[in-house]
């Protein structure tokens, strides 16, 4: 009878973390930031149809980096949870914090007990109103959850981009300013990202219930070139 080798919890956690980080680092990063009228989400994404950013509910957006199939499954679960909760209770009872907690539990469980940790990081963004604050919930591959007020960066290159964003941050500006700032942080000083390689969406109050709007390449290009 063969016995499994003993592996210390420290070693196991380290190995799993390294595995997840490597997977995440293979993909491109994304930035989310608040601006004067809402929340802006910008991802580097050459695909026009496989989205990293999407709508969860009236005032909640989702973004994921890393393995597409893994975060897309969580995106679908989030939409189901939100629509199910709003149907059972009321639309105003759907809270991004609750969803972020469920995601955290799931990511944590997969990291500790799953066949392999998920190679993803996700973001749950909520546009505030009189009931709830504007929040960016950042979830790491192992289930760590942080709530940011101003901006969040996801992906393998997060530390560098975060630093670049923070160094030039002058507080909430208009959409154009926020987009310029986010794209500059994403691309760095040595290259520029064309509008067609950017996926951009906002959560913004425009007088209707749903606040999620995808910005087309044309709109993004125009905002960046002026």
């Amino acid at each position: 009878m063969s016995m499994p080798f003993y592996v210390s919890p420290e070693q196991l956690t380290k190995d799993r973390a390294e595995f997840a980080q490597k997977g995440i680092a293979r993909g491109r990063s994304m930035v989310a930031t608040t601006y004067d009228n809402g929340v802006l989400l910008v991802a580097e994404n050459p695909s026009a149809s496989l989205n990293k950013i999407s709508e969860i509910y009236d005032r909640i957006a989702f973004a994921g980096v890393g393995k597409y199939n893994e975060f897309d499954r969580l995106r679908e679960a989030g939409i189901r949870w939100a629509d199910g909760t709003g149907y059972t209770y009321s639309r105003e009872d759907v809270d991004a914090r609750a969803l972020a907690n469920y995601y955290a539990q799931y990511l944590g469980a997969m990291f500790a007990e799953g066949p392999k940790p998920l190679e993803i990081e996700i973001l749950v963004a909520q546009l505030g109103n009189e009931l709830r604050p504007t929040k960016l919930y950042h979830l790491a591959y192992e289930g760590t959850i942080t709530d940011e007020e101003r901006f969040a960066v996801l992906g393998g290159d997060a530390d560098t981009i975060k630093q670049r964003f923070a160094d030039t941050d002058t507080g909430a500006s208009d959409l154009r300013g926020a987009l310029h700032h986010a794209v500059a942080a994403l691309s760095g000083p040595d290259r520029s990202i064309p509008a067609t390689d950017l996926e951009v969406a906002v959560l913004e109050d425009r007088g209707s219930r749903r606040t999620f709007v995808r910005l087309t390449d044309e709109v993004v290009g125009e905002l960046l070139n002026n």
């Binding site: 499954r73 679908e76 679960a77 949870w81 629509d83 199910g84 799931y106």
Partner: protein
């Protein structure tokens, strides 16, 4: 309710109803309860869109409510209206609104108008064949793929039929339909269709006790909706009141007789 995750084999896909079924949350109903009924709504095809007019009364043994909204936006380019059990009808509207939006968010693209019409069929079938709370909706909207207005009616078993002219649902149907049959023309302007549809509901309110006509005492009028390439739009309270006042004044002038013409 935790995070609703499904295995690949058991995933319910983008249908909200399939999702509710998968988590075992769809409703079962008691039988033999008397509940209020909602009645007459008409939907008329016109040039570049559709027009819907619906009365506002819910009727049980007595008048249960005078200001029910039987027409709602299912999404930006689609209107859904209900007749039959008011309780089930309201649930139906909610389910349709939620399902279309759910599909759009899950897949990243909207259902076609025909897709929406077909989606309701099994819901009607399931409801009507398993509960005593019969409900008969209609679906009308602007088809953004085909660039024209379309109207769909259903039978009690869930059969879905597209009509080229108009659809009428509810107990006032014989009277409303008669008016529409005489007055309908292909490619009517939206304005003409509004007048005709309003007259049809006025006729139903005049003859059918379960259909509410214009209520000048409470200032409650049948609601008027248009769906065009600009989306779902409800006529303002003033414009609606004016439309029905005009018909009413014409009738008052002739002592209640229609006068042999559509007026």
């Amino acid at each position: 309710m935790g995070l609703p995750l499904f295995s690949v084999q058991e995933d319910p896909g983008p249908s909200f109803v399939s999702y509710l079924d998968a988590k075992g949350a769809s409703m079962t109903l008691p039988t033999g309860v008397d509940s209020p009924h909602a009645t007459t709504v008409v939907a008329v095809r016109a040039a570049g869109g559709v027009v819907l007019v619906g009365d506002r009364q819910a009727t049980g043994a007595y008048i249960a409510s005078r200001d029910v909204r039987k027409i709602e936006a299912a999404d930006r380019f689609t209107a859904i209206a209900i007749s039959g059990s008011a309780a089930m009808g309201m649930e139906f509207i909610r389910m349709a609104q939620l399902s279309f939006e759910h599909y759009e968010k899950m897949t990243g693209s909207s259902l076609s108008l025909e897709g929406k019409a077909n989606y309701l069929s099994p819901l009607i079938q399931r409801n009507n064949l398993t509960t005593p709370f019969l409900v008969l909706p209609l679906l009308a909207g602007y088809d953004v793929n085909r660039k024209r207005g379309r109207v769909f009616e259903y039978d009690g078993a869930g059969g879905c039929y597209e009509r080229g002219d108009f659809v009428v649902i509810g107990s006032g149907t014989p009277f409303a339909e008669s008016a529409l049959r005489l007055g309908f023309r292909d490619d009517m302007s939206i304005e003409d269709a509004v007048e005709l549809a309003a007259l049809a509901v006025y006729e139903a309110g005049d003859n059918d006790p379960a259909t509410g006509g214009p209520d000048f005492v409470r200032n409650i009028f049948p609601m008027i909706v248009t769906v065009t390439d600009e989306g779902f739009s409800e006529l303002s309270a003033e414009a609606t009141a004016t439309t029905f006042r005009t018909i009413h004044e014409r009738r008052t002038a002739t002592g209640g007789r229609p006068g042999g013409a559509l007026r």
